[in-house]
Structure formats: C-alpha cells, structure tokens
Symmetry: C2
Subunit: 141 residues, 2 copies
C-alpha cells in the first residue's frame, strides 16, 4: 500500500439553485453519495446559512464527503475523501454531479498520506511503481 487515501476535489457550477439551497436535499444527496460508493456512513451533519447556502458533511468510516453551496452563484464545492483501496470515490462524484444537476464541473484527485512522497523527499532511490501509469491519482503532496 503506497497511499492512505484518495481525495477528490469537485467543483460544480450551474447547479440547480433550489436543490443546493435545501438542507433536506443536501443531506439526502450526501447519504446516497455514500451509498453509491458502498462506504459506511457514520453521521451526516448539515447546516443552513442565512440568507442562503448549505454546508453538509457526511462522516464515513472511510473518512468524509462534504459539500458547501453558494446558491446565489449556482456553485457547490464537493470533497470526497476515501481511505483504503476497496472503495472508489469517483462513484460519489458522479452521483453528486447528477444529483446537483451541475452543468460544468472540474475534478482533481489528490493522494493523501502518500508514502512514496515521503521517500522522494527523503532522497531515497525509488523503484518503478508498476501501477503508476494507470494510477488515477494526480497529486503528490
């Protein structure tokens, strides 16, 4: 195992404003996004701000999924942080994009807790990582 977690940074523009301004809708979407990855939901906490906007965080056994919304701009910021290698966070990203009806999106994937990054910084010689070419993670921190 070379990395402890995969963290997807999801930008969603052109979302349905009624959906991203509703605590109930955001809560349900976070719960279903969790289901879509088959991750384990521990708790969901949502908060509605005044005059608009919702923050929602689903705490998972495998880390978290969060969303912050700006209905006045039709924008929602999603984060899907999944640890381990058996669950694919991309399923949650796909689900959220559909559920928020986002028209334009961007997705960045980061490795979190990357042992290779530590070795690189220590100046240690590196063997070729056989999976590197097919690796979907794009960031070494």
């Amino acid at each position: 195992m070379d990395t402890l977690g995969r963290h997807l940074i999801l930008e969603m523009w052109g979302c349905c404003k009624d959906i991203i301004d509703s605590v109930d809708a955001v809560k349900e979407i976070l719960a279903k996004a969790t289901e879509s990855t088959k991750a384990t939901l521990v708790d969901v906490v949502c908060h509605r701000f005044s005059p608009y906007g919702v923050t929602g965080v689903a705490i998972l056994a495998e880390s978290h999924i969060s969303v912050h919304t700006w209905p006045e701009y039709g924008y929602a910021a999603g984060d899907i942080f999944i640890c381990g290698s058996t669950i694919n966070p991309q399923n949650a990203a796909s689900f959220m994009i559909q559920a928020f009806q986002a028209k334009e999106t961007s997705l960045l994937e980061l490795k979190r807790g990357d042992f290779f990054a530590m070795k690189i910084r220590d100046g240690r010689p590196m063997e070729m990582n056989a999976n590197a070419i097919d690796s979907q993670s794009t960031g070494y921190l």
Copy 2:
C-alpha cells in the same frame, strides 16, 4: 471578488500518536484551530475508530476544518476550507501543526469557486489580475 474560498490541504507526518488517537484532543484542537482564525464555529463532530484513528470535522460559518488520523503511521490529514477573504486559513494550519506536533508537513493551497477559472475555460479575454503575483493560492480547478 474572484474566488469563493481558500482550501488548504495539510499533510502531517511524525505526529504525536497519543494526541492523534484521542477524540478529546482532536476535538479541542479543531475548536482552537477555529479560534486561531477567528472563524465562527457551528459544530464539531468527532468519531473514534477501532482499533485506532480519529475523524473530526469542525463545521464553520466559513466552511470547515477536518482531520483524519492514522496513529499507526503517525500521520494526520488536515483540510482547512475557508470562504470569504477576511479570514486566513493559514493560522489554523500553523496551529494544527504545532498541536499535533507534526515533524514533517506539506501544504497545498487551492482556490475553490474560482471565477477566473470559469472565464479561462470559456475562452474569454483576461485582464491582468493586479493581485495575482502576490496571490497565495496555487491551484486553478
């Protein structure tokens, strides 16, 4: 205003294992990290995993601060997502690094909800952003 939020991705290695394996300690550190930025704390939710590890999320009026810990590796993954331009998330990062006693760290800052990124993707002509050179944000998504 060109961006809605600043998101710091904080990797902490060589942390004190007793601290990062304690729900009480993590909860207190999240609350104090919030104070250090003068952000507004709405709620803190923490969960202890078996056999070790803690997940903590502080929900703020200005978004969130989260941490996931792996005591078996002395590693903690921090995220500090602050919206608006009056609060500096770097204060929370400094505080967390000290509080978790991290020996090695890396920090990446991302712009979230970046209007300039949208304009670039739309192929619109860009004026020089007078603040760009001093901008501390490093990622366009």
